[in-house]
């Protein structure tokens, strides 16, 4: 490939680190890993999604070019897909509404505690998400501490949180918080304080400063936060499983059930690919507009 290409500087003095083949040598192990365990398995899903079960318990398939698999899962699970996207959108919006002020406080009011405040946002995620889910069931239960307190304050009895959409969206929002706070803080960090001072010197009120200066400049961070929250939320399994009820299942639960419980690998693969296509499209749109660097928090 690039082996024969030489940069002009390499002509003059070709030390090892400028050899054109060196980067490819460094890249090869990682690229092989990605091709073998990411690209290949994904590519393989396509023929599987067009197959039919030969024996669902032995997981043997026959390829039949069965496009109907897609039509079937789309008609049957369109409501679940719509629900998943709605939950993901709601949790992302909520997370943005909470995370932006938080990032603002960390950036402009954090002072020397900035690092600590940021670390505190990440810290809860060093406990097992599974144990956190169990903790939420304790907190949100009908006789749990939260509802008991609210009832004492006048909440009508019979109000439920656990096994409702509110709990699922809440759980998704919680998980999205660090992915929202970090990129927004990073992008606010890049706004020079002098710029804000200059705007104020020009008699701009706080709202104008925010709308005309800060928001546009932090937009890439916000956009990255949205993508980083939306995608895990849309494909989430755990929150609906532990905090939701039977009317709050998400597409991830369906894929899991199709494959592990109903053992319908072809239809599971079809649904997974639909989800993947939707998410990849979102990422591509984002990358075209903002580049990929904010997505990687760099």
């Amino acid at each position: 490939m690039n082996v024969s290409r030489r940069s002009p500087r390499a002509e003059a003095r070709p030390p090892l680190h400028r050899q054109a083949w060196l980067p490819w040598l460094l890249l090869t192990p990682g690229l092989i890993w990605l091709l073998l365990w990411f690209v290949l398995p994904l590519a393989q899903l396509l023929p599987v999604s067009l197959s039919e079960n030969a024996d669902r318990f032995r997981m043997t398939l026959v390829f039949r070019g069965r496009i109907a698999n897609y039509a079937e899962v789309m008609t049957q699970y369109a409501p679940v897909l719509a629900r998943s996207l709605a939950y993901a959108a709601a949790s992302t919006a909520l997370a943005a509404l909470i995370a932006y002020p938080l990032a603002w406080v960390i950036r402009f009011r954090g002072g020397r505690w900035k690092g600590l405040l940021l670390a505190l946002v990440v810290l809860p995620f060093f406990t097992s998400s599974m144990v956190r889910a169990i903790a939420w069931t304790t907190l949100l239960g009908d006789d749990g501490p939260l509802l008991s307190t609210l009832r004492a304050l006048g909440l009508p009895p019979g109000t439920r949180l656990l096994n409702t959409a509110v709990a699922v969206v809440g759980g998704l929002t919680y998980n999205a918080l660090p992915f929202m706070v970090l990129p927004i803080t990073l992008s606010l960090e890049r706004i020079p304080t002098e710029l804000l001072d200059a705007a104020r010197d020009l008699q701009a009120g706080p709202w104008i400063v925010f709308r005309r200066v800060v928001l546009p400049l932090s937009a890439p961070g916000l956009a990255a936060g949205i993508v980083l929250s939306l995608i895990p939320a849309a494909g989430d399994v755990v929150n609906a499983q532990f905090l939701g009820g039977p009317n709050n299942r998400m597409i991830g639960n369906v894929v899991q059930s199709l494959i592990l419980v109903q053992r319908q690998l072809p239809r599971g693969a079809a649904l997974a690919l639909v989800l993947m296509a939707l998410m990849t499209a979102t990422v591509l749109v984002h990358v075209r507009r903002h580049g990929s660097s904010d997505l990687t928090l760099s």
Binding site: R56, F57, M59, T137, G141, N163, G245, N247, Q262
Partner: protein, 394 residues
């Protein structure tokens, strides 16, 4: 090298000296440890294939709280078996979801390799599937003379007509558990689960046959020869209740959390669990619906290629001894498959009350309510699974 229950990589020991290490050395240590861990399984796998073992071993997998444990210095059944036979038993209580368990063992058995277990306890319908797939070995019944002392209803059952592949561990009754304080009244029928006053406080089981069996019987259908057509009205009823928000959740064993935490007022539940739970929550009641309900069995299966047949035979003989079976029954409070247990329990004052419990020893009236969910032909089963999943996951 003998077959290991789990390949455990050994980098744990690296944890200890961590604080005294410099940062860079820690990094190197961690990488080394990681490398060792990466190699570990490969080495274990290499060892696994070679050589036979001389030690007498047995690997059993069962559901939790399904045997009498060693407690307060009194040895439980597993320990007594170890002591009496000298067999090294690995007894794990790692069954908690039969569908997930099948997903685990399926690729191994399909590839013609033996799985870790010599014996595992699994629901009757899954045993039937394993037999059909040719993934179960016949049990070493020659060495188990007392296996003939089964209670009559469990001899040559519908899931194992030849009686060669399974022996029952315990059976039980699916019923309705409820907290009488939360319901405010005793429940009397399956219809009570659909009472709007219990909206959002009702649980059903993800175990399809138990949920659907009870509903179909309430609809007057025969579940010993189930068909999809007969089940459809019950499916529709379940689906409507779900849409209305009547059903809070479909659960496995975790209905117990919800009952104790007050999230469920009533739910479909299993007899022995509720007897055990009632010790913690005295307000719990258990109803066996008069319209009928499922009698199920968890059975012992020997997976294809399990190496310790002789040891398995000794285990079966041991647990089918009425004295041992009585200890197990007293601890788990399900229906013992061994004839004579009732008499053993009745002889001891501490357990005499158990001998009169119709949930453990169904009397005529109780027996009249109990049905076994019959085998489903493969295509029928897929339709049942799909329809049920469309309700629980849709």
């Amino acid at each position: 090298m003998p077959r290991q229950a789990q390949p455990v990589p050994a980098p744990l020991s690296r944890e200890e000296p961590l604080p005294s290490l410099g940062r860079r050395r820690f990094l190197r240590q961690a990488v080394l440890a990681g490398g060792a861990a990466a190699l570990g399984p490969a080495l274990l796998a290499a060892c696994r294939s070679g050589g036979g073992d001389r030690k007498r071993r047995l690997v059993i997998s069962n559901w939790p709280l399904y045997i009498d444990p060693t407690k307060d210095g009194v040895p439980g059944t597993v320990d007594r078996f170890r002591k009496q036979t000298g067999i090294e038993v690995s007894y794990s209580e790692d069954q908690n979801d039969s569908v997930a368990f099948f997903a685990k063992i399926q690729p191994v058995l399909a590839a013609g390799r033996p799985i870790v277990q010599d014996l595992f306890v699994t629901p009757y319908w899954l045993a039937e599937r394993l037999i059909r797939l040719g993934w179960a070995d016949p049990l070493p019944l020659d060495g188990v003379a007392n296996a003939s002392r089964l209670i009559p209803s469990l001899r040559k059952p519908s899931w194992d007509p030849s009686g060669r592949f399974t022996l029952p561990w315990q059976s039980g009754i699916t019923g309705i558990a409820y907290n009488i304080e939360a319901t405010g009244r005793p429940l009397t029928s399956v219809d009570d689960l659909f009472d709007p006053r219990l909206k959002g406080k009702v649980g059903f089981l993800t175990e399809m046959r138990d949920t659907m069996g009870m509903l179909m019987l309430a609809d007057g259908k025969d579940i010993t020869r189930p068909s999809y057509a007969a089940a459809e009205p019950s499916f529709a009823r379940l689906e409507q209740a779900k849409k209305d928000g009547q059903i809070r959740a479909f659960t496995g064993n975790d209905y117990q959390d919800d009952l104790l935490a007050g999230n469920f007022a009533a739910c479909v539940a299993w007899s022995g669990d509720v007897a055990q739970l009632a010790l913690e929550q005295p307000k719990l009641r258990f109803l066996v619906p008069p319209t009928g309900t499922t009698l199920w069995a968890d059975v012992m299966v020997m997976p294809k290629g399990a190496p310790h047949r002789q040891e398995a035979a000794e285990w079966l003989k041991f647990v089918y001894d009425p004295a041992t079976a009585a200890r197990i029954a007293a601890a788990v409070k399900y229906i013992s498959p061994v004839a004579g247990v009732q008499e053993v329990l009745a002889r001891t004052p501490a357990t005499a009350a158990l001998a009169r419990n119709p949930l453990m020893f169904p009397d005529r009236e109780m027996e009249a309510r109990l049905r076994v969910f019959g085998p489903l032909a493969s295509g029928e089963e897929a339709r049942f699974d799909e329809r049920f999943a469309s309700i629980t996951e849709g």
